[in-house]
Amino acid sequence: MKRGMNERVQKLRQQSLTTKPRISMERAVLVTQAYKKYAGKVSIPVLRALTFKYLCENKTICINDGELIVGERGPAPQATPTYPELCCHTLEDLKIMDEREKISFKVDEESEKIQEKVIIPYWKGKSIRDLIFDQMTQEWKDCYEAGIFTEFMEQRAPGHTVEDGKIYKKGFLDFKKEIEKEIEKLDFINDPEAYDKQEQLKAMAISCDAIIRFAERHAEKAEEMAKNETNPVRKKELEEIAKVCRYVPAHAPRNFREALQMYWFVHLSVITELNTWDSFCPGKLDQHLYPFYKKGLEDGTLTRDKAKELLECFWVKFNNQPAPPKVGITLEESGTYTDFCNINIGGIKPDGSDGVNDVSYLLLEIIEDMRILQPSTNVQISRKNPDEFIIKAAEVIREGMGFPSVFNTDAVVEELLRQGKSLEDARCGGTSGCVEVGCFGKEAYILTGYFNLVKVLEITLHNGIDPRTGKKIGIETGDPTKFNSLDELLGAFKKQLHHFIEIKVRGNNVIERIYAKYMPATFMSIIIDDCIKKAKDYNAGGARYNSRYIQAVGIGSITDCLSAIQYHVFDKKNLSFEKLMEILNANFEGYEKERLLLLNKTPKYGNDDDYADNIMIKVFNIAHDEINDRSTVNGGKYRIEMLPTTCHVYFGAVCGATPDGRKAGVPLSEGISPVQGADKNGPTAVIKSASKMDHLKTGGTLLNQKFTPKILEGREGLEKMKDLIRAYFKLDGHHIQFNVVNADTLRDAQKNPEKYNNLIVRVAGYSDYFNNLNKNLQDEIIERTEHQRF
């Protein structure tokens, strides 16, 4: 039975939705003060820890009216801090943030003044961003500007990790004890790293103090508010808040409410310490909460309704924290307020058994009730999970918000095992961000940047030259018009790819060390195994497992391009290679007939047609073999990932006309989905094509499907959706997500945005308000083939 949100939750939700994101200078100012106070006097890890502690001791404490779970990253909901130690914004940046049409942040005059007088004078030339760009080679910069790849760490810190449940069993006093024990064990006589380890451990201990103090200040604030509160009900609530904050996070939580508050303080700490990518994530929330839920119901201290209210208050907290403001290419690749906390529901337990419990169903109900952007949610589907769980999830998906997305837990486990994780660690893992696999609580699995496959093909077709700029940024792999087969072309492509991946990896290796040396994450390191045991920071390879990803974009587009060349140039000889190049260089102007021929009469990926799909397999394998298993400088391995966020739009903008009939500047295909509109045989054909890629060799793939609401009507519609999902997962598909909305509705929304303020759609690995997307992305989503059958 659906009950909907109660009045308290409605109010909190409304406040979260209607408050405009704005820039808060508080963090920047405090960080600057802390650096002025400590920099040069202490080791880097200790400096970072003291800075974090300074923030916890001095930032404004905010307890919003009516809320039960407390704590904000900024001084108020939607007040978003900046991280000048990573990226020191120019005044021009602030102006753009304030004025841009999409994903804007209000910047008031006062903030601008602070930036000019306090922040810029201290940080200019000293931020990580400055350091990175200073260290990158000219060829790296050329590639970066050409749109060959993007760089994740130029404005935001690595993160990409997830909580695994340990914070429900240990408090930060316990963690501190563990850390102190490790300090005692240090062997300064025989271990040349003893000093470094000591500094790291000291810093982690300081970070434990910091989060405890942060919570205490909330308790103090709540007590003070309670004193002045005239409403007796609220007074009692505030006293309860104070009690909770005095207990967690110093100690392990004892009940459902403390568990939620515990997580929330940890979450805030991670995203206050640094602006980690994908913020942070509670991972398998249903499994972590279930023991508290069960105990509460049994001893009468909790009801289902109360649990739901607390969870909904918890949900609002995520939505109050938009992703930190991005600029430039980082904004292009990830143009959204969403910060990619992606809660896992269902799946399996560490012993491999069915992990679905009552809280799983409760969470699905909450997603449907809340209809807010953050947190993102997904269901983890194992063959061991009941069909009913998928049906319930499908019911929520049918509502059309793009939540939850759907993952194949069995494939996730296999992917992790293939990467060398232990069985238990693999089963404790899941997916986060968009679609990335990781061992929760034990792995740093860091995305390093998107990689433009189509651009590399374009440069191959121009023998090393980027036709957009005329610059030679590739290597000479031969005049393609002299090639006699597709394999020859693929051989040249492979060489170009190798050239560009090496440039990317060279850059990554420098950036990885910059973070390891100058930007340790001493708080986050406490909760990721085995940073304490190894006395090594998360950013320096302290985690048990370390993976770095390069995310390949445009597999659908490049497949269709190569298929068009194979079909029309080599097989049917409808066009000579010279003619094709002439047509592409003219961006099809004067060649509409040829464009239509390439567009309409080419076997394309997404139709279960081996002609095209075999080319996809070849390209995927080339990219995989180039990236996979390369070593990283902090002791990890490289893997390939097949997801785009919003980067397929940016990457399309830098690519000229392509042999699949796509005009210059048009978005590329996203994830492993077919080119928008190229799939003409329905969803089963798409699934078959997509599953010809060996997903188990990746760290995640992303498949988007659009359905009209009509096709999902009734129990039968849901059953069919479930069967599609099950079948895809039988074929080792990694992930599938659904947009359930009519193209007509989207077109109307484009024309009348004011009517559709609440229209949430699936983008790529996350959902967003349709109105928040730029026009290109809106068009692209409308273009995605809509599956409907009578």
Binding site: K593, L597, K601, D608, G682, T684, A685, K720, D723, F790
Partner: protein
């Protein structure tokens, strides 16, 4: 028979039998129902569909035709049927897809290979293959071969039929068919003749024999407002089905999405004034069926 004329293979068919299915549409039908939403299926022979709005006037079709059967006049594309040998070259070359050939000569192997591609979905959902049309029994030899091959592959088979065929034909295939989707369009023979072009006697007799034989049958009744939706016809339909001890009935609301197809095929559409039935009407009719104890579903 190892070759036939197929005009479509529809993946993810979810309204032509249980589960996720692939529907193979065989060309040719002895009926000419006024509301037919696949008018391109009526003739066995291949046909051209021409989309005026898509044509860019490149004339490549004319140039490529070895029989010189294609020309353009003031109405656009013209195909001289006396010359055309349906070599398919023109449709293949047409860059915009303005020229479409309806009906493809397909081998048994090609069709079965295509059908088998979605096996994983059939097995997951309890689906299979459905042979539809046109009237699939028009190409009885090819249909029989398709059914044999499907059963050999262990697929669940359904045949969507008008029932207008000799009992001998049905007898020949019935043991290879797991489910018949069987249309009853009108109980009044005169009206049946007017609106479909043929008598309903054979159809009703065949249905009776098939039911007596114990075959699994889903009866499908299209609801065409003002043609067959009157209470009397609905009741007579119910009584007939009831007398055969059949249980599963699908009532399919008329839809007019085919209007444009008629234009592209240069065919007249005789019921352009008829509106799509309202939900209330469908519910009311469903209730009448339910009154007779049937499992009734609206749509598919």
């Amino acid at each position: 028979m190892t070759q036939g004329i197929i005009f479509n293979i529809q993946k993810y068919s979810i309204h032509d039998g249980p589960g996720i299915r692939t529907t193979v549409f065989l060309k040719g039908c002895p009926l000419e129902c006024w509301w037919c939403h696949n008018p391109e299926s009526q003739k066995v022979k291949q046909q051209f569909i021409f989309w005026h709005n898509k044509c860019i006037g490149c004339m490549d079709c004319e140039k490529v035709c070895p029989e010189r059967a294609i020309s353009f006049n003031k109405n656009g594309f013209y195909n001289d049927k006396s010359k055309c040998k349906f070599c398919e070259k023109c449709a293949e070359i047409c860059p915009s897809g303005a020229l479409e050939l309806v009906g493809k000569k397909s081998s048994l192997d090609d069709v079965i290979k295509e059908v088998e591609k979605d096996r994983v979905f059939y097995e997951q959902s309890g689906g299979g293959v459905t042979f539809s049309g046109g009237e699939p029994l028009v190409q009885i030899d090819f249909l029989d071969s398709l059914l044999c091959a499907s059963k050999q592959k262990g697929l669940h088979t359904a045949v969507d039929t008008s029932g207008y065929t000799s009992w001998g034909n049905i007898e020949r295939i019935k043991d290879k068919v797991d489910l018949f989707l069987y249309d009853i369009k009108h109980m009044d023979d005169e009206k049946h003749k007017i609106y479909t072009g043929v008598s309903n006697q054979l159809i009703l007799e065949n249905l009776k024999k098939l039911a007596l034989d114990g075959k699994k049958i889903w009866v499908r009744v299209p609801i065409i407002p003002s043609i067959n939706d009157d209470d009397l016809n609905i009741q007579r339909t119910c009584e007939y089905i009831s007398s055969l001890n059949l249980r599963d009935v699908f009532i399919l609301p008329y839809h007019n999405i085919a209007v444009d197809k008629y234009k592209r095929l240069n065919m007249g559409y005789r019921i352009s004034d008829i509106q799509v039935p309202k939900d209330e009407l469908m519910k009311k009719i469903a209730d009448i069926f339910k009154g007779y104890g049937f499992n009734v579903k609206i749509g598919g």
